[in-house]
Each structure stands twice: as C-alpha cells, then as structure tokens.
C-alpha cells in the first residue's frame, strides 16, 4: 500500500479569509496570508504542502467553495 498524497488549489479571489478551513485541517497544511485579495480579504494558502492527505476537510467546511482537492496513492 502506497502513501496517500494530497494537494489543494485555492480560489484566492473568492476566499473571504474566514479561517474555518485552517481550523478544520487536521495537518495544519494551510494558513491565512498577510496579503489581501481583490476584495480586501486575507486569503488561504498551503504552507505545509507535503503534509496534505487530500482528506477534503478544508474544502467541505468552506462556505464559499473556494478549495479544490486532489489525491493520489503513491
């Protein structure tokens, strides 16, 4: 059985910086940036990419559907 690896893509323009996904991620993969997007919100970006398992917790709790998740078995 190979290791499961995940990766996420954040629609940073759509993100409102609510932080719900950051709290929901079991592996602290994502964090809010200091920079703001076109609407003036701090947005979410992966900071610990290697730890992502593609579990979809972040994407599931995001009220604005900003996160797309990919997963593979190595």
């Amino acid at each position: 059985m190979g290791k499961i690896k995940g990766a996420i893509v954040v629609n940073t323009d759509r993100c409102k910086g609510c932080n719900l996904c950051v709290v929901a991620c079991p592996f602290k993969v994502i964090a809010l940036t200091k920079e703001v997007n076109v609407r003036g919100y701090n947005y979410v970006q992966p900071v610990l990419e290697d730890a992502c398992t593609g579990c979809c917790s972040c994407a599931t709790v995001c009220p604005d559907g900003c996160i797309t998740v990919y997963r593979v078995k190595e």
Partner: protein
C-alpha cells in the same frame, strides 16, 4: 511526488458543486448559509434533478440564493415561501419543490404558513436555517433567540417575562400528522456537514416519493449578528444552541 503530478483531473476528489455558479456570494465570511447552499447544489446534482428542482427563496440574508444555485427559483413575500411551494408543487407534482428560510422568515412572520403547509402534508421540503437572530436586518431578536442571549433589540439578554420563550419549531413540526421527516442538524464540522447532507437528501427523496412534508432545521451561526469570529461562532453554537436545540431526527415515518 510533486504538486503538479498530483493536481490532475483524474485525481480530483472535491470541487465546488457544478450547480453553484461563480457569482461572488454576498454572505459575511464564514456564514453557515454558504455551507448549506453547497449541500443543496451537490444533492440536486447527485439526484440528477437540475431540470426538475424549484426552490423558493426567503426574505432574509438568503434572499439572493437564486443568484448562486443554477436551478429554477421563485422569490416569496416574507414568510410566505411554504404557501408558494404548496402552489408550485400542486401544479407540478413531478418537480422537486423546496423552500430555504431563516428563523425570522419561518418562525416569526411565516409561522402560520410553515405550520399549515407541514400539517397539510404538502410534498415539499423546508430547509430552515436557525441562527437565532435576524441576520439581514442587523441582528434583532428572533422567536428562536435563546434565553439570556443579547441582540440589538434585547441588549440585556432575552427575558422570558418580557419577550416570551424561544420557539422550537422542529418539535412542533414533529407532532403534526402531515410531516414525514423532521430533523435538526448543524454544519460546524465535517461530520455534521455530512449528516446534514444525508438529511437533506432524505427529505428531497421523500418529497419526490410523495411521502408528506419534510423539515430540515440546520442550527447555524450568524457570526456578524453574534459579533464574534466565524470559528468562535461555531464554538458558541455548539455550547449554547445545541443544548436547547438538540441535534438528530425527531421523526422519520417509514
């Protein structure tokens, strides 16, 4: 394995539901409405009912739901969504007809329409977003506001001597002969969201099978009205709302 090797169409496991369009939603950051919108869009897509679904939008923060989910919609006068849903479902019995309403819309100005539509056993689903407050108009007390809870119109906290007691709509609905399925759920965690998804799907299936009326209450947050961060609002909801509005099925007629 590099990021680019993982991010390929064949490895996709989650994306925004296709029926939810790219319009920017006007909701405050972290508002529960968005989470429930996603579920509604996902379920209609999964049930293959895009062409058959007709939603009724409320007066309240969710008034613009018709701008975000690409199905047919009707906008109702404040609180009258269940009456409109009744008419539409009777005219088009093969359609999936549902309302999406806040607690001010459903449990205050629209209490009569809600109770009577449920009691008549109309083959509709009512999705009830209970955030214990009038979100849209600036956080006034609702019939669902908890005892002691502070709002713009009860700044010292809700006092039953002055304001009466919070109304448990789902408990009333469960007593009515016409209801097939009554449940109370939440959307604060992944497992809660998955349960709410199953509940809405079950309600939609009942509506299509003509089993009677269905009420899915979602105990929600209004972080702006409650004046706290979205993360704090979820915690507050769990600690204060859930003890008074316990989660789970209240009725599921076989």
């Amino acid at each position: 394995m590099t990021r680019n090797e993982i991010i390929k169409p064949e490895n996709l496991v989650y994306k925004k539901p296709t029926l939810m369009n790219d319009n920017h939603m006007h909701y405050c950051p972290g508002c529960s409405h968005g989470v429930v919108h996603k579920l509604v869009a996902e379920i209609i897509e999964e049930m293959g009912l895009r062409e058959k679904a007709i939603g009724i939008s409320p007066v309240g923060c969710a008034v613009f739901i018709y701008n975000y989910i690409d199905i047919d919609w009707q906008e109702a006068a404040h609180g009258r969504a269940p009456a409109l849903a009744t008419a539409i479902k009777r005219l088009w019995p093969d359609r999936l007809v549902f309302t999406y309403q806040g607690d001010g819309d459903l449990a205050c100005i629209g209490t009569a329409e809600t109770i009577h539509a449920l009691n008549r056993g109309e083959n509709i689903t009512i999705i009830f977003i209970n955030n214990a407050i009038y979100g849209m108009t600036g956080g006034q007390m609702a019939p669902t506001t908890l005892m002691g809870m502070k709002t713009a119109t009860c700044p010292y906290g809700r006092d039953p001597q002055l304001h009466g007691y919070p109304l448990k709509i789902a408990d009333i609905a469960a007593q009515l002969e016409g209801t097939a399925y009554v449940t109370r759920q939440s959307v604060d965690t992944v497992s809660a969201i998955n349960k709410t998804k199953r509940a809405i799907r079950h309600a939609f299936e009942n509506s299509m099978e003509g089993k009677g009326s269905n009420l899915v209450e979602v105990v929600s947050t209004c972080n702006s009205g409650w004046k706290m961060s979205p993360v704090k609002a979820n915690q507050w909801m769990k600690e204060n709302m859930v003890p008074f509005y316990p989660l789970g099925d209240l009725k599921d007629k076989k």
